[in-house]
């Protein structure tokens, strides 16, 4: 298991190097935006990973409420935290891309606003987990996660439902949308690389949560034993 983990981490690092090379040197320069369009190769894959993390959090929260499994709760905690990390990258790289292209850092339109709301929902989820005490914490967090996930499809569909400053979908956007084949390759390599980074982070954070649960249980056991004596 340990060798498998190390092997996967080395594979992920190699993939990151290759995908960065693809994004910065192989993909052609976009005609209207120029080099700044290369932010797309980080911005879109990190948004994808954030969405996947929140989906895992949603499934794990349902599993926790159904089975009361501490493993499911640990997975929910891990995936939410990693999702927030990637969503933060999206919310920072987006305005950095917007400034030279739109002339503004931010505008309160549907895609940007719903993404910010998504980030706030999962930050509040993490705050709830961190500062709430008592036996109901995990149940409340799971309920918040299930309702909070409603915003993920809204973020995805916002550029289809509303007229937005954010570009219309390039991928799965219907007629007239699409990418140059070389851009597609660079995008897919980055998508794969960032997905692997997300997996490494979730697995690491999951193991940490399990260890913290064990320590907490040991402290509780000692406290009970001390009380009995």
């Amino acid at each position: 298991m340990k060798y498998l983990s190390i092997g996967f981490i080395i594979f992920t690092l190699a993939l990151l190097g290759f995908s960065t090379y693809q994004a910065l040197f192989v993909a052609p320069t976009e005609q209207t935006m120029g080099d700044v369009q290369r932010i797309f190769y980080y911005h879109a894959p990190t948004a994808w990973v954030a969405g996947v993390c929140f989906f895992v959090n949603f499934l794990a929260s349902i599993a926790y409420l159904w089975k009361r499994s501490l493993n499911a709760d640990a997975l929910a905690a891990a995936s939410a935290e990693v999702g927030v990390v990637f969503c933060t990258i999206v919310l920072i790289t987006g305005p950095i891309w917007a400034k030279p292209v739109w002339g503004i850092w931010w505008t309160w339109e549907a895609r940007l606003t719903s993404t910010l709301v998504l980030w706030l929902i999962y930050v509040s989820y993490l705050i709830l987990r961190r500062f709430s005490v008592g036996s109901q914490t995990q149940t409340l967090a799971a309920a918040l996660a299930i309702f909070g996930f409603v915003d993920v499809p809204i973020v995805y569909m916002s550029i289809r439902w509303f007229r937005t400053q954010h570009p219309q979908p390039v991928i799965a956007g219907g007629q007239g949308s699409g990418l140059d084949p070389v851009m597609w390759h660079a995008f897919l390599w980055n998508l794969l690389a960032f997905t692997c980074v997300g997996i490494v982070f979730i697995v690491t954070r999951y193991r940490l949560q399990k260890l913290e649960n064990e320590v907490e249980a040991a402290h509780a056991q000692r406290a009970i034993a001390g009380g009995v004596q």
Partner: protein, 43 residues
């Protein structure tokens, strides 16, 4: 902000945030391992 500066800034953000998160996770791992050692010693 020019395109090149924006690209470099976005690239830096994309790497700095995950690296900072990774170092945060590793520091938490170290703390938990210390606690486990303390618990084992006090048994």
């Amino acid at each position: 902000m020019t395109g090149q500066v924006a690209l470099k800034a976005a690239y830096a953000v994309t790497w700095i945030i995950p690296l900072a998160y990774l170092s945060y996770l590793l520091s938490r791992f170290r703390r938990v391992r210390c606690e486990i050692k303390d618990l084992e010693r006090s048994r």
